[in-house]
């Protein structure tokens, strides 16, 4: 290679390196976003026809609707509950795998076991809750047989509880993986040094493991939050239509050909998510933590 390369040649090589990513991102990410953004400013004839132009009418409509706030609150409720449960479960599963399973082969085996639910489709995973949680389901039958309850519990299925259960079931792995990853990089000698200094289990957890798993927790949080906030399918199926989310509302809009309102809602949701993610990135310098 020549030591003196002209800047433009270096530039060209640089573009060549990133071109695969660009070739994927531009048509499948940037272009759709731009289309949605454009559509959100268009006017509609009410029958699915779009009139190119620039109007904020759709935004005004979305922001003025009392439903919007309600939907956001509902979605945030699901998000926070799911986040709390996936975080607790994910953290302890990762902790167990990293610090309590001595045999590395076993740890990897158990880790793969966590991915077993993903061997089937999302829909099957959700449907399979019905025989368990349903009115005639396993849990109700057992509780009835044990005499704990007289009437079958109805809140088990087609309820907010069921929605959260389904989310936690689906998304815990997204917490486990990044937390496992950052915990696995904690030098075991640090734990020993902490024990040597007289730290209790709780101290070690509080002062060493949690702070050093911060980047994993942040990454997991980003995954879970953005998936839950961007979902409508689980809410729809598991709540039996009783609950809605932000996305389910604009899915309905699409169904009735209100494209600009749907697009405006989508843009709004994207902005909210960007704000949340940047807030998370502000508290944890993921880039620095990962390269540490």
């Amino acid at each position: 290679m020549q030591p003196s390369q002209t800047p433009s040649r270096v530039n060209f090589a640089g573009w060549l390196y990133v071109s695969p990513l660009v070739l994927v991102l531009v048509p499948f990410f940037v272009a759709p976003i731009l289309v949605v953004l454009a559509a959100s400013f268009f006017a509609t004839d009410g029958f699915g026809g779009l009139t190119p132009g620039f109007t904020l009418a759709s935004y005004v409509e979305v922001l003025h609707s009392a439903l919007t706030l309600k939907l956001y609150l509902a979605t945030i409720k699901f998000t926070v509950l799911t986040w709390i449960f996936t975080l607790i479960i994910g953290f302890f599963v990762a902790y167990f795998l990293v610090f309590h399973v001595r045999n590395q082969l076993l740890a990897i085996g158990l880790f793969l076991l966590c991915t077993v639910p993903f061997w089937t489709s999302n829909i099957i995973r959700m449907i399979s809750w019905i025989p368990l949680l349903g009115k005639e389901g396993l849990i109700n039958q057992v509780l009835l047989a044990m005499g704990v309850i007289r009437q079958p519990l109805e809140i088990l299925l087609f309820s907010d509880l069921a929605v959260v259960i389904a989310y936690v079931h689906q998304l815990t792995i997204f917490m486990i993986v990044p937390i496992f990853n950052s915990m696995a990089r904690i030098d075991k000698k640090l734990i020993e040094a902490a024990i040597d200094a007289g730290a209790s289990r709780l101290d070690i957890m509080r002062l060493i493991v949690v702070p050093m798993s911060k980047s994993g927790i942040a990454l997991g949080t980003i995954f879970v939050v953005s998936i839950v906030m961007g979902d409508f399918f689980v809410v729809k199926v598991m709540s039996g239509g009783g609950s809605a989310s932000v996305v389910s509302a604009f899915y309905e809009d699409v169904g009735v050909l209100q494209y600009p309102t749907a697009a405006a809602s989508a843009v709004l949701l994207t902005l909210v998510l960007v704000a949340i993610v940047s807030l998370i990135l502000r508290t944890v310098d993921i880039r620095q933590e990962i390269t540490r």
Binding site: L190, A193, A194, I195, D196, G198, A199, L207, M212
Partner: protein
């Protein structure tokens, strides 16, 4: 009642990880309170395992560990009042120097003001005041080592255990930090146990040098004893500075015996158990006791042995010259000739010389 004695007794200590082979195999040792003790041996000889058992990070399979008159087997490190300085330091990467040093006080529930004051005093002692707010990654190797030392010392342990504390440093820094360790030990007045595989480090620092091989203690004693009077071939070769020769006893006469091959080496009889004619024995001769004489010249008085040798290589070492010889067929034989003596009549590679030494300086080995 607070027991501040840091004398240690190991009695029949064994450790096996797999239940089959003993990594540490029946170790008995007494270390005085306030002593600087170095365990030395090749990797895998069990020295670190002994250290970890004293520290309480590993339980012995058999035997007792007594610190200050109290059997500590089964006790946590805090209850033993030991502190360990880990190899490559194991500093908490997300905590500053001050927080690292104050960590042990923090988990002991000391108030923030108290522990930061204590940490700052310790930081001053290890001369890191201007780095107190840095993270470990922002420090040099030597500074990290001082943080690790301060972190271990802050709990006022009665025994400080150091696992290869200098191995991560470069040569120059190692010598410097070696002195610092010794200074800290004297300042704190507590027992230090230091594991190393460098014999120079051990003899430079230790009051008590413990040479280990395959889980057993080969020799334990003052640095000078171990270096100048090794018990056996292993210790002599490991500590260095000795030429080890082996031969068959040809003649035993009163205060000395003579080896047949290599021919005519006269060795004074010492406390060694009886030597019989025909025995195969090892002897050691210090490399700096070996004098080189040109063939045909007279030997200095008191020098009876002289072995014809060819010079294989010469290394200039500053104050002495290392001359490698083919005196004995399979073993290395080296003479450390003082620089001035050497250059008064320098040899070149291939010269034939007589290797000789004062009869009294040959040492029979077990």
């Amino acid at each position: 009642m607070k027991n501040d004695r840091g004398d240690i007794e190991l009695a029949g200590v064994c450790k096996s990880f797999d239940g089959v082979t003993n990594v540490v195999d029946g170790v008995n040792l007494r270390i005085d309170d306030g002593a600087y003790c170095c365990f030395i041996g090749p990797s895998g000889c069990g020295k670190t395992t002994i250290l970890r058992m004293i520290a309480g990070h590993e339980d012995p399979t058999a035997g007792e560990i007594v610190i200050g008159g109290q059997n500590v087997v089964g006790l946590a490190p805090v209850q033993r009042r030991t502190a360990m300085m880990f190899q490559s330091y194991a500093l908490f990467p997300h905590l500053t120097v001050r927080e690292n040093i104050a960590f042990a006080l923090r988990v002991r529930g000391q108030s923030k003001a108290d522990r930061l004051r204590a940490a700052d005093a310790m930081i001053e002692k290890v001369r890191l005041t201007q780095f107190a707010d840095r993270l470990p990654a922002q420090l040099s190797g030597g500074q990290q080592q001082r943080v690790a030392l301060a972190r271990a010392a802050i709990t006022e342990p009665r025994v400080l255990l150091l696992d290869e504390p200098l191995s991560a440093l470069d040569e120059q820094l190692r010598v410097q930090m070696r002195q610092e360790l010794r200074r800290m030990q004297q300042e704190l007045g507590i027992t230090f146990i230091h594991v190393t595989h460098t014999q120079l480090e051990a003899i430079a620092l230790a009051d008590l040098v413990v040479v280990m091989e395959q889980g057993r203690i080969k020799q334990a004693g003052a640095a000078r004893d171990v270096y100048a009077h090794p018990h056996d071939r292993y210790v002599a070769e490991f500590m260095g500075g000795q030429n080890v020769l082996s031969g068959r006893v040809e003649k035993v006469n009163g205060a000395s015996f003579t080896l047949a091959a290599p021919s005519g080496i006269e060795v004074p009889l010492q406390a060694r158990p009886t030597v019989n004619v025909g025995d195969q024995v090892d002897i050691a001769v210090r490399r700096d006791d070996v004098a080189l004489v040109r063939p045909g010249r007279d030997l200095p008085s008191g020098y009876t042995t002289s072995l014809p040798s060819r010079v294989l290589a010469i290394e200039y070492q500053g104050y002495f010259v290392k001359v490698m010889l083919d005196t004995v067929p399979d073993d290395e034989f080296v003479a450390y000739v003082p620089e001035k003596t050497f250059f008064a009549d320098p040899f070149t590679v291939g010269d034939v010389v007589m290797a000789t030494w004062a009869t009294g300086s040959a040492l029979p080995l077990a």
